[in-house]
Amino acid sequence: MLDVQPSRLLPRWWFVAALVLAATVLGGLSIGPVPLTVSDIWAVLVGHLPGVTRSETVSLAHEAIIWDIRFPRVMLGVLVGGTLAMAGAAYQGVFRNPLADPYLLGVAAGAGLGATLAIAVGGAGSAFLPVAAFVGAVAAAAITYAIGAASSRTSSVASLILSGVAVAAFLTAAQTYVQQRNSETLREVYSWILGRLSTAGWSDVRSVVPYVFVASVTLFALRRMLDVLALGDEEATALGMPVTRIRLIIVAAATLGTAAVVAVSGLIGFVGIVIPHLLRLLFGSSYRLLIPLSFLGGGAFLVAADLVARIAIPPAELPIGVITAFLGAPFFALILRTRQGAVR
């Protein structure tokens, strides 16, 4: 009898993915205006392990650059990129739509309105901004879901997507109105909308970790259900799956993670749509692979993009969203072209 095995992440792929991520993290830590050696980085990281005394070989300034500036920024890059890519993969699966991205249900517009209000009321650098963006994002997705679910008579997927369009349009209009009424804040709002990791400190990392953890664990646990959903609502129901409930759980988890990372990093586009597709072209479309690989791949991609954003036009920084699209799009087009013959 044939030995049957489902698609799963083979140990060597785990290894390669972890290696790629580790390499980009190392690059993110060592490259910058002040070049740092791998041994410096190693000494600082080891020095922060509990029970280990600080190494004397690294200067305090270098230690501060590594531990207080670069390391939280790189970690935030991993969490934001990983979450956006994983949430994007989940959305594409749940909605069976290759164009679905983490911002599909009005999350971006909701977060944008929340952030703009926070900046208008609290001024630039308002501590209230991440909370307002988070609340806006979650509220927008909840409203979209309520409208879409209520109006679903035939296809709940299509009505959800369409209600997402309506909610996003409304919230964007509201956001533009608030922004125009407070035009002195334009620059701050614009910078948030373009997305950045530059304000990151450990507090940002700490604030997103719980949400990212809940979202990743939920989506990873339901990765097989995403494969069942690929058959469509009717066939999934015929296989005994509670389609509506599972879809709600997956959407809620993906939205929670997205809202949390958007709240600290702004709207970084492209990652959630391209990383999952890139991995699909390389590894097939099973979500058993796509969910974990998207997290690792998205994290590595964003750290690399942030590295470029930091060093491309010194001493200034480019908005990271510009880099993700500018580097990611041609690369994706290249893969798409070379793989087209094989995948059809």
Binding site: D227, G240, M241
Partner: protein, 266 residues
């Protein structure tokens, strides 16, 4: 055994059919025939428990409304006319989806699930395709793979909507024979809808003719397939030939008269 009582279907207050009842025994093959729009597919989906239309369906004495979706899926497998074949998914992963009713929501396949999937791949002679992408399969290969997935549910009842509509003549006969072998082998209750009346007659134990809101004829192919019945319900010109070994062959005949008239008018 499956017992269907008083199923009705309406779309926007238009009654498609009402009070349809049938009993199909274990190991029996019933084919639902009828013209387009008679509600064959809807009826099959209702029997599968996929609509919330009125009526009752009992499998082995238990109403499918009273058992969980998972339990229902362990008893009844349903294959739509055009099943989704997600590109990029391997045949193995696809067949394993048939084990969904046996897994918890967060679970992954056990050794037993893998064994069942492997067995079904063998049964339908598609082991060689195990690692292939669904998008690369031919129509006949895909039909076998879809059947392997349905059988991986280890159902008592197999519901197939137009299982041969996308296949060439050879693949049609092959698919019907595969289903028939499985039916005999596993004492499966099989209900299918079909347009090809000759093929239906060759394999069905019983035919049900669904039209005009209900079942208008029921019986063996020999009883149901008469030229009067077919021309009345399908609006078709046919000649029904009964061959020496009891088979019924339905041959469409071109309506010469009206054809000439149109030709002359042109």
């Amino acid at each position: 055994m499956i017992v269907v009582r008083n199923l009705s279907a309406t779309y926007d207050e238009h009654v498609v059919y009402s009070d349809v009842s049938m009993t199909v025994m274990a190991g029996e093959w019933v084919v639902i025939i009828g013209p387009n729009g008679a509600g064959k597919s809807t009826l099959l989906r209702s029997i599968a428990g996929l609509t919330d239309m009125p009526g009752s369906v009992k499998v082995d004495g238990r109403s499918i409304d009273e058992i969980s979706g998972r339990e229902r899926a362990q008893k009844v497998a349903f294959v739509p006319q055009a099943p989704a074949l997600p590109s990029g998914m391997t045949v193995t992963d696809y067949v394993l989806l048939g084990r969904t009713p046996y897994l918890s929501l967060l679970g992954t396949e056990t050794k037993k699930d893998l064994r069942v999937a492997s067995h079904m791949l063998g049964l339908l002679a598609v082991e060689d395709l195990a690692k292939r992408d669904l998008a690369t399969l031919s129509g006949g290969e895909a039909q076998r793979v879809v059947l392997a997935r349905a059988l991986a549910q280890e159902p008592q009842v197999l519901l197939l909507d137009e299982p041969t509509s996308a296949l060439d003549l050879g693949r049609q006969q092959e698919t019907m024979q595969v289903i028939d072998d499985l039916r005999v082998d596993r004492q499966l209750t099989v209900i299918t809808t079909m347009h090809d009346l000759t093929l239906a007659g060759q394999f069905a134990d019983r035919l049900l003719l669904l039209n005009g809101g209900g079942i208008l004829a029921e019986g063996t192919p020999d009883e149901v397939l008469t030229s009067e019945t077919i021309s009345k319900h399908y609006g078709a010109n046919v000649r029904v030939i009964r061959d020496s070994d009891g088979g019924v062959i339905v041959v469409p005949i071109r309506a010469r008269q009206s054809g000439r008239n149109i030709g002359r008018a042109l």
